[in-house]
């Protein structure tokens, strides 16, 4: 085990003012079965702070109309608020231009857009697509569909027993047929942070574009797409204190312009006749139909909220939570942490000897502790570790050391039930 050993004294909780942060999240006041809610399922979906809820309410009560087409006041307001949200997201990931930010319904939608828009146009029979063993199913299945359709081949980067990608093996996979790389930045199942910047540079040295699945990265660390130099970057709003049904696909303008549209419909066209349709410019070419306007504006408010706290401060505090939990769990007999990468985000996947993860989840819920159990849409990861499933506690910046104590106590108590 190479997990971080860092005993943290709960009384030394850092300068990060978690209590004032918690006051912004009404849902954290809930009781579950008479116990205070301990929400440790943040990697699945995070909670929404009051300023985002308020922003959604203000939009729906005072600003809503359809965008782009109307000449009336409300339509102009809605359009300008929607575009202002795009601009906030552009700054959040430091994209060069606003038009490189496409609103999607989420990470899965973003990956499918790239598969249809780029993959189906440029990837042919015999071409190779490199993915990693840590990918979420959402960055595996679309490429398998493409491979099935075109005769392309998928190559997979293996991991070691700590849950780290084998970079030497990654580099060996490249050859003249390699046409595309899909990488997860932070593993949703294990928390491993992958060296994507280095991996992107290597792919580019072979002239191969790279898509980064940033769904689990953007909530936990500052992300700069220009610094990474990725060709595509995609993430979801609902893991980022925003609403469900909204996400972002960043793509380099030059690539987006070369791509074919993913969905056809209104807003993505310049002119339509039954003989010939001319597509709109980016980003509109990829935003067919009425988008989730309220959700996009809500996501804009969410990134404002996160930036006011500071992604560096969030990252540092979450590391403290991770180290505190890891230090305790590593000493618990019968508890095994799955995924012990040197660089980890605040995710702990674990198993309890003799207790199935579903029973762990149900019994922790009885203590008010919400964890995820199952294969986390990452069955290849589960197979590597020869477990059918794990329990996963994933921490956000509004969680506390005391809540981790509740998790530890809950695990001890369920071990007694199954003793």
């Amino acid at each position: 085990m190479s997990a971080v050993h860092l005993a943290v004294d709960p009384s030394s909780a850092s300068a990060f003012d978690v209590e004032s942060v918690r006051a912004d999240f009404p849902i954290l006041q809930l009781q579950i079965d008479g116990k205070p809610l301990v929400y440790f399922d943040n990697a699945a979906s995070s909670q929404m702070p009051q300023p985002v809820i308020d922003r959604l309410t203000r939009y729906q009560t005072m600003q809503h109309a359809n965008i782009n087409r109307g000449v009336h006041t409300l339509s102009e307001i809605a359009t300008s608020e929607y575009e202002a949200a795009r601009s906030k997201l552009q700054r959040f990931i430091n994209a060069r231009e606003e038009r490189e930010v496409i609103f999607t319904s989420g990470t899965t939608d973003g990956i499918n857009l790239v598969m249809h828009g780029y993959g189906r146009k440029f990837i042919k029979a015999g071409d190779e697509i490199i993915l990693t063993s840590l990918e979420h199913h959402s960055n595996i299945v679309p490429w398998q569909m493409l491979a099935e359709e075109t005769g392309a081949v998928i190559r997979v980067v293996p991991i070691n027993d700590a849950g780290e990608l084998l970079i030497d093996e990654y580099e060996k996979l490249f050859n003249g047929r390699t046409k595309f790389v899909g990488l997860i930045q932070v593993s949703n199942a294990l928390g491993s942070i992958n060296p994507v910047k280095q991996m992107i540079a290597f792919a580019h040295s072979h002239g191969v574009p790279v898509l980064v699945d940033g769904a689990q990265a953007v909530p936990h660390m500052p992300v700069d797409v220009q610094d990474l130099d990725c060709d595509f970057y995609t993430f979801s709003g609902h893991k980022l204190c925003g609403p469900t049904g909204i996400g972002v696909l960043y793509g380099k303008a030059a690539l987006l312009e070369k791509m074919q549209p993913f969905k056809g419909g209104g807003d993505m066209i310049l002119s339509v006749t039954f003989e010939k349709t001319t597509y709109n410019s980016i980003p509109h070419k990829f935003e067919a139909g009425t988008p989730p306007i309220a959700a996009a504006i809500g996501l804009g408010a969410a990134v404002d909220y996160l930036l006011a706290i500071g992604m560096d401060a969030i990252s540092a505090y979450e590391l403290e939570l991770l180290n505190y939990a890891t230090a305790q769990m590593i000493r618990m007999p019968g508890v095994h942490i799955i995924g012990t990468a040197k660089n980890k985000a605040s995710v702990i996947s674990f198993t309890v000897e003799g207790v199935h993860p579903h029973d762990v989840g149900t019994l922790l819920n009885q203590e008010g502790v919400a964890v995820r159990t199952g294969h986390h849409c990452a069955q290849p990861v589960m197979r590597h570790f020869k477990v059918p499933a794990t329990s996963r506690a994933s921490f956000a910046f509004y969680n506390t050391l005391a809540e981790i104590d509740a998790l530890i106590a809950g695990i001890r108590s369920l071990q007694k039930v199954f003793a």
Partner: protein, 161 residues
């Protein structure tokens, strides 16, 4: 609120720890494997039918405590019974697990009533019913079944389909 403690009571924990009729069955006349793709759990059920009676039944597999105890108690309940009696029990168990059985009315549930509380835990219903779906599949000579699609208790009527 659902009473989880009631679900994880002694009898279920005991059957989980010491499952009855666990292992393989030589010369089985009927067998099937059941999968719960949501969690990756799977169990296999093998039995022999002799003049429509079940002299032997065994199960094995990877599963949570609810599923394993359900399978163990199922084998105890149906061993020695006729296929027709077992099928009535399957129907009653599936109805109970999905909250559709009136336990006040005459039934054959008996000790299996310890699983009644599972209907308050929608995510765990499938764990409890997987062995019973698998038994039904084995009777019908369907070698593989799952808790999804038309076998999903949340979307489809349960019973002898």
């Amino acid at each position: 609120m659902p009473n989880y403690k009631a679900l994880y009571q002694e009898v279920i924990l005991d059957h989980n720890k010491k499952p009855r009729n666990y292992g393989t069955l030589e010369n089985a006349s009927h067998e099937a494997v059941g999968h719960n793709p949501l969690c990756g759990d799977h169990i296999s059920v093998a039995l022999s039918l002799d003049c429509e009676r079940i002299p032997c039944i065994m199960f094995q597999g990877e599963s949570c405590a609810i599923c394993k105890a359900s399978a163990s108690m199922m084998t105890v309940a149906v061993k020695g019974k006729t296929r027709a009696d077992a099928e009535i029990l399957i129907e009653e168990f599936l109805a109970m697990a999905t909250g559709k059985l009136d336990l006040e009315q005459p039934n054959h549930i008996g000790r299996l009533e310890v699983f009644a509380g599972v209907c308050d835990l929608p995510t765990r219903v499938k764990c409890a019913i997987l062995p019973w779906h698998t038994l039904q599949a084995a009777f019908n000579s369907v070698t593989s079944t799952s808790t999804e699609a038309d076998k999903d208790p949340m979307h489809a009527p349960v019973g002898n389909t």
